[in-house]
């Protein structure tokens, strides 16, 4: 019986104007997305590869252990995701590199050690082109698909009630939940058809290009993204059914739905995020700068005179200098780490509050599975930090392995003088793992499913109690 009702719904929808419009809209958007991706992705990849090669070449040209230890690994780059078209994730605002380099120092013979500098992305300050939202899958699914879902369901119950056909249908011995489920399935199938078509067209265009290669993992990620999109769409279908069963007139039902949509989808995420992030005050760049100066002065005060006094005793001075240099590098790195952590915490706060809105949840999910956005950025930073540890361990290990070395890391004379094989130096590789992403996304998936269940059962409850 459910299937009968669903079939009737589907036929009704297939002939309607909204079906045609939705198909055109989705196809157009998805094609535009694919074309833009094909144009931009090769450039992005090329840039990344060039930068990495340059960085690795510089690293490979060093054979002296002191140079390796002092200069550091250089720039470390974030690998662009091949699924960038799924979710842009605000990537232009996230830095795609961490600088693991040293900076010039102002003491006569000592040189600063390398540390991680987290530079913010400075993409927009010279861009005078108008601001727009990037049309990725996230936009198509989050905004357009949800709007279409509403436009398909707003009259599914109230419209029938207006025409009197609902009474007719219920006069047969059909349980109400069957009607509801049938309607739900009908709408689901009739939107899934154009959506799937659009997705397939998009993927067809994207995968035909030789520049963009999608591996098996990418395809499984795309599959997950597709199911998330369906789940999200179901959520809005349930919302549509809920309002449609509650409200007498279909026009009123659409008005309510649209205003809900505008509030929750278009405004809620950014407004709430802005309000929430106002409660957290990370240090400003000026403060950070000041504290770094402070640190500099403190350390200099502590060591300057002692170094001067030890001028006559080379061994003592070497030990002191090594201590100074390493202490300086660690303290600075800790400070910039703290700075970054505070900034991340602020964003995290804003993001967790916005989870009230399903569109934010779906954006985050898409970002995670597309390997872009904020979560990915944090993962990149973690990768960099892990690598930094590896690199430092490598230096200490190499130094320890040399019996002639004085084992004073931080000064040239105190370290092993044996040439190092550049091949042996650890190389940075930015990695992504699907299982880790899955864990990160579990909570969001759960929330989305919960939203759906609540709304659908709400629709059921309302529909059962409603007068026809």
């Amino acid at each position: 019986m459910i299937w009968h009702i669903a079939k009737r719904e589907i036929y009704d929808n297939l002939n309607s104007l909204r079906f045609a419009l939705a198909t055109v809209l989705l196809l157009g958007l998805m094609l535009a997305n694919a074309v833009v991706h094909l144009r931009e992705h090769p450039v992005r990849m090329q840039k990344y590869h060039d930068a990495v090669t340059e960085s690795l070449n510089r690293l490979g040209s060093r054979t002296n252990l002191y140079d390796i230890a002092q200069r550091g690994p250089g720039y470390l780059y974030k690998k662009p995701s091949s699924l960038h078209f799924c979710a842009d994730g605000g990537d232009p605002f996230l830095s795609d590199q961490v600088n693991g380099g040293f900076y010039a120092w102002a003491t006569d013979d000592l040189r600063g050690f390398w540390q991680l500098h987290y530079r913010p992305a400075t993409h927009n300050s010279r861009n005078i082109r108008p601001d727009t939202i990037i049309v990725d899958w996230g936009f198509v699914i989050g905004y357009v698909l949800s709007l279409i879902a509403i436009l398909f369901t707003f009259d599914s119950i109230s419209g029938e009630r207006e025409h009197g056909t609902l009474r007719l249908m219920l006069a047969n011995s059909i349980p109400r939940h069957t009607v509801l489920i049938g309607k739900f399935l009908g709408a689901l199938v009739s939107i899934s058809v154009p959506f799937t078509l659009a997705v397939l067209m998009n993927l067809l265009v994207v995968s035909t290009s030789s520049d963009v290669q999608l591996g098996t993992e990418a395809w499984s990620r795309l599959g997950i993204v597709f199911f998330i999109a369906l789940l999200y769409m179901c959520l809005f279908l349930a919302l549509g059914l809920l309002v449609s069963s509650r409200v007498r007139r279909s026009a009123a039902s659409l008005v309510i739905l649209l205003l809900t949509w505008v509030t929750f989808v278009a405004f809620m995420p950014s407004t709430l995020a802005s309000i929430a992030s106002g409660f957290s005050t990370p240090m400003t760049y000026d403060e950070f700068h000041e504290r770094r100066q402070q640190l500099n002065i403190e350390l200099r005060d502590e060591y300057d005179t002692r170094l001067q006094e030890a001028r006559k005793h080379p061994a003592k001075r070497r030990a002191l200098a090594g201590e100074y240099v390493t202490k300086d590098a660690t303290a600075r790195e800790r400070l910039s780490q703290k700075f970054l952590d505070q900034q991340h915490a602020q964003i995290q706060l804003g993001r967790s509050v916005t989870r009230i809105s399903p569109v934010a949840i779906v954006q985050y999910l898409l970002e995670v599975f597309a390997g872009t956005g904020f979560e990915r950025h944090q993962q990149f930073v973690e990768n960099v930090q892990r690598y930094a540890r590896e690199y430092r361990e490598f230096v200490t290990d190499m130094d320890k392995a040399d019996p002639e070395s004085l084992h004073i890391i931080g000064v040239r004379e105190g370290m092993s003088q044996k040439p190092v094989n550049p091949e042996a130096v650890p190389k940075f590789e930015d990695t992504l793992s699907l299982s880790r992403d899955f864990n990160a996304a579990a909570i969001d998936l759960l929330l989305l499913a919960l939203f759906f269940v609540v709304l659908l059962s709400g629709a059921y409850m309302v529909f059962v109690r409603v007068e026809v």
Partner: protein, 511 residues
């Protein structure tokens, strides 16, 4: 008769649920976002004030003219609360030097808190209007004619001796009156919030600009009402009308502005142009460098070193510390076509050994200063044109494309009123360039280049307070109005056009 019609429509509209919902949503969104926006503005204002203070301090630390690090800061625009435009995005501090002509591409961003906050898109009041007002207008309009036709009341009304045009007019006037309620109420609340904030003081000009923004909003609103009415006039059933209206809305508001810019590829030719212009500018400076070296070689104290081996007294730590520093280098940044030569010294007290070099240095700098300025002007002529074609023109093309949608027109008009559009921002950099000119004139007047204070402070430090001060005032309201006028007129014309079309469609339609 028409008053009766208007009264009927007005009562009809005011009693509806959608009216209440519209008022509620607008108030909620505008108040919540205004609070956020005002807070953000206050923060930026505080950052601006700190910037002014630190700039002064930095300047006072420099003792010679050539080392003066003269920065000027751009104040945040209070009307960015209405339409932020480029106000928050472009750099807000610029370095004024005799050696190069400043542009907006050379500005720095100062006083930003957390750059990652850009991940959350900022919502200004005009954006809320763009999305919600248009939606509400369509919701009010979709059944204006189709609904009456469906219920049969249209036929009833037309049995009376009323003109069809009057019916349309009555519907329009009453619906607009209703729609103005949420618009004006939310603006009123925003205004109250603005006056509560102590940091914001609005001048008469600002109030007029806000008036301009309100006017544009009303015209925008009416345009969407007409679009809805047209749909309503040509469709038989309200359901279809509403559906169509929503798709039209989705297309114009949601899809078109975002897709059009992505779909149209940015011009690729600019890269070659960049390289060739950069080379051209480099050549101008190379020529300058040759002449400079030539001068040094023929000097009474020949040598390559532009500082004539002058050093300050006191201990040295590399380049800082002690009693001074020298520098002479080419500043290069190909991405913004910046290339210039800068030489300076900040020596508090010269060593005895350096004293005999002073006349040579004076002679050299007397030659170098004006020469640098002339070369900078020459390079600027080249750079200006290239920047226009490479950066400004694509941005203008983008804006023209955006104007194909009413949303784009409205956005452009309100930005022009608020002064946060490209023109408004460029006004500031224009002022910075003018300031640089007055500064140079002042230098010439005082014969600064030839003085010893140019490179060393032996004869006393520079009195920075006697320098001409920088001041920037936003453009006059008239200019704002002139900039907003084309878009406003375009919106009005579309209004008129749609009204005529609706009138014709309605005249000919069967009831």
């Amino acid at each position: 008769m028409i008053t009766t019609l208007i009264r009927r429509e007005l009562l009809d509209n005011l009693m509806t649920f959608r009216f209440a919902a519209a008022v509620f949503i607008m108030l909620l969104l505008v108040v919540a976002n205004s609070a956020v926006l005002i807070k953000d503005y206050e923060r930026r204002l505080a950052a601006y004030n700190t910037a002014l203070k630190t700039e002064r301090q930095q300047l006072q630390e420099r003792k010679t003219y050539s080392s003066g690090a003269l920065d000027v800061a751009r104040p945040p625009n209070p009307l960015s609360i209405f339409n932020v435009g480029l106000d928050k995005r472009l750099g807000n501090e610029i370095w004024i030097s005799y050696a190069f002509v400043p542009t907006l591409w050379d500005a720095r961003m100062r006083g930003t808190t957390n750059p990652l906050l850009n991940l959350f898109s900022s919502i200004d009041i005009v954006f809320i209007f763009e999305v919600v007002l248009s939606l509400i207008a369509l919701i009010f309009a979709y059944d204006a004619i189709a609904g009456e036709r469906e219920r049969g009341t249209l036929r009833l009304v037309l049995t009376h001796p009323v003109r069809r045009g009057h019916i349309l007019l009555a519907k329009y006037i009453s619906a607009m009156t209703c729609l103005l309620v949420p618009l004006l109420m939310s603006l009123l609340l925003a205004a109250i919030l603005l006056t509560i904030s102590t940091a914001i003081s609005l001048s008469i000009g600002d109030l007029l600009r806000i008036g301009g923004i309100i006017l544009s909003s009303i015209v925008y609103l009416s345009l969407f009402y007409f679009i809805g009415m047209l749909i309503s006039a040509v469709t038989r059933r309200t359901g279809t009308a509403l559906m169509l209206a929503m798709f039209v809305w989705g297309f114009w508001v949601l899809v078109y502005p975002n897709v059009i810019l992505a779909a149209i590829a940015p011009p690729q030719t600019s890269q070659e142009r960049m390289v060739s212009t950069y080379d051209e500018i480099k050549q101008i400076w190379d020529e300058f460098d040759r002449e400079r070296k030539h001068f040094l070689a023929n000097d009474a104290a020949p040598g390559e070193d532009p500082h004539f081996g002058m050093v300050g007294e006191g201990p040295h730590f590399g380049i800082t510390g002690g009693s001074g520093f020298n520098y002479a280098y080419f500043y290069k940044r190909p991405s913004t076509l910046e290339y210039f030569y800068l030489a300076g010294s900040n020596i508090r007290k010269l060593t005895e050994a350096s004293k005999p070099q002073v006349p040579h240095a004076q002679n050299y700098y007397r030659y170098l200063g004006p020469k640098t300025i002339n070369t900078a002007e020459r390079a600027w002529l080249v750079r200006k044109q290239a920047l226009e074609t490479i950066f400004v023109q694509p941005a203008i093309v983008d804006r023209i494309l955006l104007r194909c949608s009413p949303v784009g027109m409205y956005d452009a008009a309100t930005q022009a009123w608020a002064g946060t559009d490209l023109h408004g921002l460029r006004d500031f950099f224009q002022a910075a360039r003018r300031y640089r000119r007055t500064l140079i004139d002042y230098y010439y007047d005082k014969n600064v280049f030839a003085s010893q204070q140019w490179f060393s402070a032996d004869k006393g430090a520079v009195d920075w307070d006697s320098l001409p001060q920088f001041s920037f005032h936003r453009s006059d309201v008239k200019i704002n109005a002139a900039r907003a006028l084309p878009d406003l007129l375009l919106l009005l014309m579309m209004n008129l056009f749609l009204f005529i079309v609706i009138f014709l469609a309605f005249q000919r339609s069967e009831v």
